[in-house]
Amino acid sequence: MFKIKIAEFVIEVHNRFDFIEKQCKDYIYVGDECDMIAECTLEQIEKEKTILNNDTIYTDGYIESVCLYRSICLQLPKTDSFVMHAAVIGVDDKAYAFTAKSGTGKSTHIRQWKKHLGDRVYVINGDKPILRFIDGKLMVYGTPWCGKEGWNKNVSAQLHGLCFLERAENNSIVPITPSEAATPIMKQILIPKDAEGAIKTFELVDKMLKCTKLWKLGCNISQEAGKIAYEAMSGGNNEN
C-alpha cells in the first residue's frame, strides 16, 4: 500500500504487485491526507486478462495497474473530473489535447509539434490524462498511466484546445462546434456504471465542449501538420 498524488487528489493505492509502485514513482505522496482509495479484486484482474489483446503477454502487475487506474477513474466524476482517451501536450503553460481512434497517429503528430517547437513542447500524458474543473478552469493533469511510449509528466496546464485527428492526404485544420464534437468525444470517455457518476460525466463533457476551442485536423505524416495545427490552435483564448 502506498499513496500517490494525481490531479491534486491524494489516492491510497491498495496493490498486490510491485509493478504499479514503480510506475507511479514520480507521483508518490507521503502524508496523512487521503481523498480516495484505489482497489480491485482478483476477479477483476482475471476478467481484465480476458479483455486485453491476446497478442501480447501482460504481467499480473501490469493488469492490476490497469484495474487500479480504472478504480480511480470511475470515482473521478463526483469530484468534477474525468479521464479522457487523448494525448495531451503542453506548450508555454497551455495544454492541447489530441484525440482519435487508436492507430490514427496521435504520437506521430506530437512528434511533429516537437520538431516544430523543440523544447517548448512537453507531453503531459500520451494516452489517458485526467481533466478537472478547478475554479471554472478546465485543467489537464499528467498521470503515470500514459500509453506505450511512457510519455507523462507530473504537471498540469489549462486546456487551450481539443483536436480531433484524422488521416488525410493534405494537411488542414478547421474549427468545429460542440454538436459536431459530441459523438466522437463520447467514444473517448470512460462512463461510470452508477447513475450519479454517469450523469456527472455527461455534464462535465458537455461543459468541456462548451468552454474549449474544438478543432478537426486532417493530417499526413509531414512536419507541416504540426506547424499548421499549432498556428491555428495557439491563437485566442478559451472561455474557461
Binding site: 460542440p178 463520447m186 447513475a195
Partner: protein, 88 residues
Amino acid sequence: MKIKDGFILRDVGDKTFVVATGELSKSFNGMIHLNETGKLIWELLSKETTEEDIVKGIMEKYTDAPIDLVRSDVRTFIEKIKADGVLE
C-alpha cells in the same frame, strides 16, 4: 409499455445519449444516440404509455407532421428498442 429502470438520458453539445446504469448495465452495453424525435419518444416512454399516446404526444409538438408517417416512425422506433431489450 415503458422503458426499463436504469437508463439515463443526457444531452452533450445538443446531441442526446442514453446509457444503462446499475444492474441494467450488466446486461446492456454501449451507448444509444437519439435524434430529436427519438428523444421525445424516449421521454414519453419513461412512464407507462401506449403506441397511440406516443403518436399523440408527437403530434402535439409537431402539429403539421403527417400522422401516417409519425405512426410508422413510432412503430419502427418501438420495434427497434424492443429488439434491443430496452422496454420492460
